[in-house]
Amino acid sequence: MSELDPKFAREILKFGDGTFSACYNCGNCTAVCNLANNDNTFPRRLIRFSVLGLKDQIDASLDPWLCYYCGDCSTTCPRNANPGDLMMTLRRYLSSSYDWTGLARKFYTSKVFELTAIFILALFILLLFVFFHGPMTTELTPDGGVQLNTFAPWKTIEAGDWIMAGFLSFFLLSNIFNMYLKVIWRRKDLKIPVSLYFSELRHLIIHFFSQWRFSDCETNQDSFFTKVKNGEYTYWFVHFLLMSSYVLLFTMIVGFLYWFQTDEIHPWWHPQRLLGYYSTFGLLLGTIYFIVLRIKKQNEKSKNSHYTDWTFLTLLFLTTLTGILVHLFRIGGLPMATYYMYVLHLMILFPMLMIEVPFSKWSHLAYRPFAIYFSNVIMAAQQKTSQK
């Protein structure tokens, strides 16, 4: 049995604006949705849960993560109840319901809390550099670059990276485990053979790297080239570019800093520089593209921006920008500018990773593929039971 809680709608509204209570249950949103099917029947079901306050059902639902905000539901909703935006709000709500520390909830519901946290973390980095930085030499390397590793030795930075990565993984993984408890473990009606967790694992990997589900938003019969020409893959492509750049850069910084942060200036075709350029290009293009979309508000999924969307995009953009400047100052032989920019770069990068990855917007990079994985596991299990 579930308990009704009419006040629960107010709780959801803390995570975003919403007009979902206007819904008159016509089912139009579910019928026009290209991603919904009879195993995952959304968004109307979720609107109903939200209006009635069926908290347990919402907490156990994967549907918000399976929604990619194509926007058809919102543009055609006869009541202008904006189901797509509710799904977005529920993703914020779920992110904080998975987070056992309660920090995600704070970040999502209080601007002041989020900004303060950013400043404290930035200050922390600043103080670390003030007290522990290496010698600020103005002497240049033989090929005219700045001796960045004297100021900030990669070994020290890497140690910091590892500590940070440990924190991030611990929180993110424990949140994913919490998600697993909510969506599978606590459901009494499910009996899942262990083998399914392995056989369905491919979905996790495919969707983490490809985000191909975005392209399911378009179901018209046009040929692939017409779709490309009409820009139907543009959003997916830019998103993919941004995500792959991020993953690549994160791997290089955390795993291969000795190779990535060098004082030696490599020729332009060196893999270190090419990979770095690809990533900065992807991040720069991606953040600018999404910022412009959110300012223009022309397509449905960019119409409603939460303040956390803006913090995330701004931090990512500024990280990229300062990173590019560090690179330019370093090969341009400007020691002091390089050092200051490097500190600034880390002052933005560190809070962004610490806040966004486990507790805020960036966590969707884990929740989305895991949701697809879990939902495939559930579907496969249900298929097996129905066959018996």
């Binding site: 016509c26 089912g27 019928a31 026009v32 949705c33 543009t75 909703c77 006869p78 009541r79």
Partner: protein, 450 residues
Amino acid sequence: MEQNMKNSSVKVADTLILGGGIAGLEAALNLANTGHQVVIVEKDLSIGGRMIHLSKVFPTLDCSACITTPKVSEASRHPGIHIQVNTGAKKLAFDAKGHWHVHVQTEPRFVNESLCTGCQDCERACPVVVKDEYQYNLVGRKVAYIPFSIASPRIAAIDIENCILCGACEKACVPGAIDFSQEPVQTEWIVKSVIIASGFTLFDPDQIERYGGGKFKNVVTAMQMERQLVPTRPFNTVLRPGDGKIPDKVAYVLCAGSRDGTVGNPICSQICCMYSIKQAQLILGALPMADVTVYYLHIRSFGKGFDEFYQQAKKMDVSFIKGKIGKISELENGDLMLRYEDIASGKIKEAKHDMVVLSVGILANRDIEKISGLENLELDPFHYLKQRQEMSNPFKTNLPGIFMAGTASGPMDIPDSILSAGAVSAMVTKYNKGFVESIINSLTISSWNE
């Protein structure tokens, strides 16, 4: 007191009624029978409005034309009623004595009304065929034509926009009634009161892309289905327009263009549920083997006998499924696939039908806003005329001496339209009787909104 000039004249009456539909006719007859001089100004070629084109009325299944035509002919012959068809109001002005000066313009029909006998010789002679708007584009008509068989007045007209000026009708017309030299005629009516009975317009479903946007041949509007069910129907049976096949599985899509904020009409049209239930029953009468499914959001059978009528349709095996149709797609053979969420089971379903009827909603007739001098007329947010005091002083606009009847004030069914006409007749009688030039005038205006 008539001053006749070339193509323009000034005339006097008690009340002018804009619109010769069932509400306008009912009000006109009530007023004329109590001794008022009434003018009906109708923009169409015939009076009778929408109702004269309908098959049956719900929930009694009485013949619609059989109720309308006696009123139409009574009004046409009544000594107290003057009817001007093919005429539109251009300007309204309020004078110092409290009269309304209504400037109307009669468009030329290029047929001499007193000579035409309605023999249809011109229609047979005319070589040009265009879509017949009175059959809702299901079939064609000639350019020289009698609007429809029970039109009143039953006089030919020439649709000059599509005319090729070949002169065939002129040669065929025995009484010589064809007159291409006609020009617009202006009339200025000086009246005490005006009733706006301008009716409604039908929602155009072509703007709903996901229902085919007007491109699917076997998706019709409810009015097109209605025409297929009347005695004066264009085909002699019910068939789908795409290929002339007699349909086996007909779907009704309710709330197509009403209760929908995305198409700018968030309110209920009040009639679609019931006319769809009525048509479903009539289809089962015409095609006993057909399956009819009605996809609804909420069946609003609120009137007397309405719910019994709904239950009767269910007993006749009309299927009712709760769920808004999200998408319609056309198959190669012209059949249609309807995708919806079945609210009862919470499952997404697809159903194949060979004909789909969109139960389109109704919208306010916004032609009223184009009349000069009515800029201050108050409208509600949905562009219907606003009733200042719906309870204490119904059917009065904010302008002194201007009343409203029928769907000009909002969506309503036929009995309610007739009822409103009855009510407004009583109000206008009172207003006209108490009207004394210039003495009462200031009093009338100040007491108008009390």
